[in-house]
Structure formats: structure tokens, C-alpha cells
């Protein structure tokens, strides 16, 4: 349990560090202009990659659940609450 929290904390810091680093390293050279399309669409594709990954995990889980835990599934068994006054 503690290990997991520590692990996630490290992962979070590792993700945040490069971003912070980049900020202070960014220069400002005259004559060379930043392409806002590149920056913005890059950010968009990065976010879409994450969104679709997370989304497929979430919807995959829900779809699997819907298939597995439907009452007509061959392995469906009564929950421990059925027949009790819950």
C-alpha cells in the first residue's frame, strides 16, 4: 500500500519535472518564430493519446462488465446480497 503511494508520487514528480525544466530552459532568439500551430496541435495530440488510452481502459472495463455480469451469462451467480434485506 505504502509502496504504491510512494511509487505514484515518484511517477507524478517524474512527469512534472521535464515540464518545469523546459520552462526555465526556453530561450527567446530574435528572427526565429515559434509556430503556434505546432505547439498547440502537439499538445492536442498528446492529450488525445492520453484521453483515448484512458478512455479505452474505462469503456473497455464497462463493456467487459456489461458482458460478464449480465444475468444471462453462463457463469452468473447470485450476489451475496440477494435474498437478504439489503
Amino acid at each position: 500500500m505504502k509502496f504504491l503511494f510512494g511509487f505514484l508520487l515518484i511517477v507524478a514528480v517524474l512527469l512534472a519535472l521535464p515540464a518545469v525544466d523546459f520552462v526555465f530552459a526556453a530561450g527567446d532568439e530574435p528572427g526565429k518564430y515559434l509556430d503556434r500551430r505546432v505547439v498547440i496541435w502537439n499538445l492536442f495530440y498528446k492529450m488525445m493519446t492520453v484521453a483515448f488510452t484512458v478512455g479505452s481502459v474505462v469503456s473497455g472495463t464497462i463493456i467487459w462488465q456489461v458482458w460478464r455480469f449480465r444475468e444471462s451469462h453462463p457463469k452468473a451467480k447470485p450476489t451475496s446480497f440477494e435474498g437478504t434485506d439489503w
Binding site: 500500500m1 504504491l4 503511494f5 505514484l8 511517477v11 507524478a12 512527469l15 512534472a16 515540464a19 518545469v20 523546459f22 520552462v23 526556453a26 527567446d28 530574435p30 528572427g31 518564430y33 515559434l34 509556430d35 503556434r36 500551430r37 505547439v39 498547440i40 496541435w41 502537439n42 499538445l43 498528446k46 492529450m47 492520453v50 484512458v54
Partner: protein, 143 residues
């Protein structure tokens, strides 16, 4: 209901928070980069009014409904409005800024290729909002 261990949910929430922190950091960084206007950017005053765009270059020349710029130079738009809210948008260059009466909003871009692009109004401004369109011409430098 309470009484049972809830650690999977705590892990899950931690992951979500970490993810949001990452999203925030990335967005912050990108915004910081695109907001920084280059010092040598040329100013173009963009005026929105029902229902057309007027562009005034630094040398005083005015254009209505179309805008000519040169490739490889940076331009800073000062977006203003004469009547109601509009939103100045060159979608191909991801340029977007609201034209609010009484305010001067700035946004900049540096076209990198010769070509024609659509200019449109993206904030509802009334009857002919749907056709408050213009053209951006990116041309070779004249000198």
C-alpha cells in the same frame, strides 16, 4: 457503504489527480510559449463590426475583408470591436481572439507558407454572423 477497505478507490483517485497535474503542467507550458509575442512583430489593428473585418497595417494602409501578410514575418493583431462582440479567427493558424468593444486584445502569429486561408467570426454577433468571413493571403516578401 462504509466498513470495508477502500484502497482501490484511493489509488484510482491518486492516478486521476496525477494525470490532471500533468495536463495542467503541459497546457501551462504550451500557453506560456504561444503567448510570448516576439519583439519585432508588426502590429495589425483588426476591427470587427457587424458584419465585416477591417485591417489596418502599421504603415496606415487599410484593407476590408481581406488581409495580406508576408511569409516569415511575425504579426501581432490588436483586436478591437466597433459594436458588439466578435471573435477573430484564422483557424488554419490557430489564431483566435475575441473582439470586445472597449478592449484591445492581442494575439500573434508568424505565417510560414505562401497560401490562402479563411478568416471567420467565431462569436455570435447577429444576423450575418454566419457570413462574417474574410481571406488571409500569405505572400512572398516584397523586398
Amino acid at each position: 457503504m462504509s466498513g470495508h477497505s477502500n484502497w482501490p478507490e484511493w489509488i484510482y483517485v491518486t492516478v486521476v489527480i496525477a494525470l490532471m497535474a500533468w495536463v495542467g503542467a503541459e497546457a501551462w507550458e504550451a500557453e506560456r510559449l504561444v503567448e510570448h509575442v516576439p519583439e519585432d512583430a508588426k502590429t495589425i489593428i483588426v476591427t470587427g463590426q457587424q458584419w465585416f473585418w477591417t485591417f489596418e497595417h502599421e504603415d496606415g494602409t487599410k484593407e476590408i475583408g481581406e488581409l495580406h501578410v508576408e511569409v516569415g514575418k511575425a504579426y501581432k493583431f490588436e483586436v478591437v470591436s466597433k459594436d458588439v462582440n466578435h471573435s477573430f479567427n484564422i483557424h488554419d493558424y490557430v489564431v483566435l481572439m475575441d473582439a470586445i468593444p472597449g478592449r484591445v486584445n492581442t494575439v500573434w502569429f508568424a505565417p510560414d507558407k505562401v497560401g490562402e486561408h479563411d478568416i471567420q467570426c467565431r462569436e455570435y454577433c447577429g444576423l450575418i454572423h454566419y457570413n462574417m468571413r474574410g481571406k488571409l493571403y500569405v505572400e512572398e516578401p516584397s523586398h
